[in-house]
Symmetry: C2
Subunit: 418 residues, 2 copies
């Protein structure tokens, strides 16, 4: 079972957008046990698109195309597939109705080129678009399954998950029995982690252990092959145990857990509320928490204390602290955390202060970070970090460190890693 993903659109080749569709579909296919061997991107050009489709058909059992289904003249995916498969293009009445409803709901006039979007390939399974206009399609040609999906991610994702995946599962029910598990680590580099468990990686053939680093996190993917699902599961358990006897200190989650949703679910399950005082990160922590549905049950709000005056006036940091230790200090981080906890009446206060760069501040170099956490009636804690890299990389890493320490505190692991 080999799959490949072809994204269509000159906007991708011009770099106006990133190919996040291929990322999403790859994640989903990995979960289904379908190997993705290639991603391809071509522009709105019928000849090159046709060439990609022909090559992909020869190599792969499943070819997923995204984009090129829209209303404008450079949207060519349906036309190119029609030429390749020798199929007609026909009006899909149900989609036409859905599109006119969409315009009614948005209180906008339906232009003629929008009707083009309701045209589909004859003899294909049609997926109505719940979040936009262009429908998707699934068809077979020369033993290859083709899936055509719209380009906008918010239309493509639900269509893939809700419509395409069930169809694919019923088509490919004879996949190889591989079980896989991802272990997630923070606060340790890829080379350091790999060196610590090198003997294990070398000795281990089944399950295999594959390390990957991205954005300050390291993951290990364990993959076990076995006819019996439960046996594969206990093979994974055993390997996980061996690994974590060495580096378990740095693990924060598994599979699709992220630092953010892990911290969020711990807040939810312990019933604790949180408030933030953000200087350096200026709302990034809070905005991430609020990105999750149900945030209002755990998140009380925060103060973006970008200036020294706001640290003093809005979050109650002592003037003396600012003079003696500076705004970028563990002392200030502790007072910010305790102050915001009090003024927003939450169980936990978390604070972020530091030097984003490019310039230094208070004679502290860019990348100097202090994070404070005040929880319940315990004395507030603070950690200091020295991060390398550009301004926003530092801010993103800082939020991750805050989430990691929050997870450790909520799980009663201690002391915090500095």
């Amino acid at each position: 079972m080999y799959a490949e993903i072809i994204a269509v659109g000159s906007e991708l080749l011009l770099g106006q957008i990133a190919n996040t569709n291929a990322q999403f579909i790859s994640q989903q296919l990995a979960e289904l046990g379908i190997d993705v061997y290639r991603h391809r991107v071509v522009g709105d050009n019928a000849d090159r698109l046709l060439q990609e489709i022909q090559e992909a058909e020869m190599r792969s059992d499943l070819v997923i195309l995204t984009g090129g289904l829209g209303p404008t003249k450079d949207d060519l995916t349906k036309e190119t597939m029609a030429a390749h498969t020798n199929r007609k293009l026909v009006m899909h009445e149900e989609s036409l109705l859905a599109i006119s409803e969409y315009f009614k709901a948005a209180n906008r006039e339906m232009t003629d080129n929008n009707k083009k979007q309701a045209i589909v390939l004859d003899n294909s399974t049609v997926f109505i678009n719940r979040h936009g206009m262009a429908p998707g399609m699934l068809l077979r040609h020369n033993n290859t399954v083709f899936v055509l999906l719209p380009g906008p991610p918010r239309e493509m994702k639900p269509m893939f998950q809700l419509d395409a995946v069930p169809e694919l599962l019923s088509i490919f029910s004879d996949g190889k029995p591989v079980r896989s598990r991802v272990l997630r680590y923070f606060g340790i580099g890829e080379a350091e982690l790999e060196t610590k468990i090198e003997a294990l990686i070398d000795a281990q053939k089944n399950p295999t252990i594959a390390p990957l680093a991205s954005d300050g996190e390291v993951t290990l993917r364990l993959s076990a092959k076995h006819e019996n699902k439960e046996t594969a599961g206990s093979m994974l358990d055993k390997t996980e145990e061996k690994i974590n006897s060495i580096v378990g200190e740095f693990m924060y989650g598994k599979d699709d857990e992220t630092l953010l949703n892990k911290a969020f679910s711990l807040l939810s399950s312990t019933g604790k509320t949180i408030a933030s005082a953000e200087s350096l990160t200026a709302g990034m922590f809070s905005s991430q928490i609020a990105s999750l549905p149900g945030a209002s049950a755990v998140f009380k709000g925060g103060i973006i204390c970008y200036t020294n005056e706001s640290k003093r006036d809005l979050t109650g940091v002592k003037e003396e602290t600012l003079l003696k230790y500076g705004a970028v200090s563990e002392q200030c981080a502790k007072e910010l955390a305790a102050g915001v906890k009090k003024s927003l009446n939450s169980d936990i206060g978390i604070s972020f202060t530091g030097v984003a760069g490019p310039d230094s501040l208070e004679n502290k170099p860019a990348g100097t970070i202090c994070i404070g956490i005040a929880m319940d009636n315990k004395p507030p804690i603070a950690i200091s970090l020295s991060l390398k890299g550009e301004r926003n990389y530092t801010r993103i890493r800082t939020v991750k460190h805050g989430l990691f320490q929050l997870i450790r505190l909520l799980e009663d692991r201690k002391p915090p890693l500095n």
Copy 2:
């Protein structure tokens, strides 16, 4: 001049990261006037990588590879290029020194596999890595120029801009004379905009007009071909003028301007400071402003007033307003904007309140949004929006609407578009 970009790494095919490197490099090459015809992604597999390199070499004048230069066993790009070009791999002493300095600075021990990163292809131009370890390379083989860059974006980007681009410019100095300009619009759909200027698009052959929609924005790329740079420029001016006599109301910027950096530069040039009161967006607006270097000159901070209590206690919204109109109302948005302007002592206060969803609130459906702006001593204004889509799409769009209204106000265009 045809280019293609090959990204190497199983993490891309597993969907663990998106191929943002191809996006960045494509943007950069577009600015240099080099056409990118294909993006490719392959895993950490020497056979398939070799096949991609061979195919790309036959088709393209320039092939840029990212990834696979790291310290672990599955990093194979150098080895595969060595096999393809029949070159030796040699230790690059300057890189080895830089790598050991890097470890010293981070106060970490250098493991043996890190030394592997200092090995380069013989007879290539080597780029020292300023933000990481693995050096980059440029080499020629069979009339094709190959550039090898590290995978992590924060290492790849500066290396491409500062090291690879100057080398490429000196190699390809005979590019075709095409000048291009991007016009950026907000608050109008792609089909609507295209319909309004359809006659122009059809009549126009040089410059060409190419529309593109993404995330609620629409751009038009005008491309003029002419030997004389100034003539091409005035051709672009003329076409721009024709287009904007029809849809100029919705334009906010050109070329690489974004809503964010346009608003930021207007704040800077007018010398005005801003503070935010964010409910729905919960820090997203503020965090974006603070992502720009020099933010502290224009940004005073903010209040994340996620609860009704914090709207009342921290930003001075009247209890009566919350009872009579609700938290999601133009009245509340105005009071929030005026309140945060006052408590943070800024020239402008901006507020965001609304129903992120999935559930409704105060009997208002998900996607109901109010944005308030208080500037100088003028009475605060507010607009209401009704957005479709999931929670975070709504939040992102809301911030963009706020930035667009801010731009209009700072440019003295009125009234605000609702």
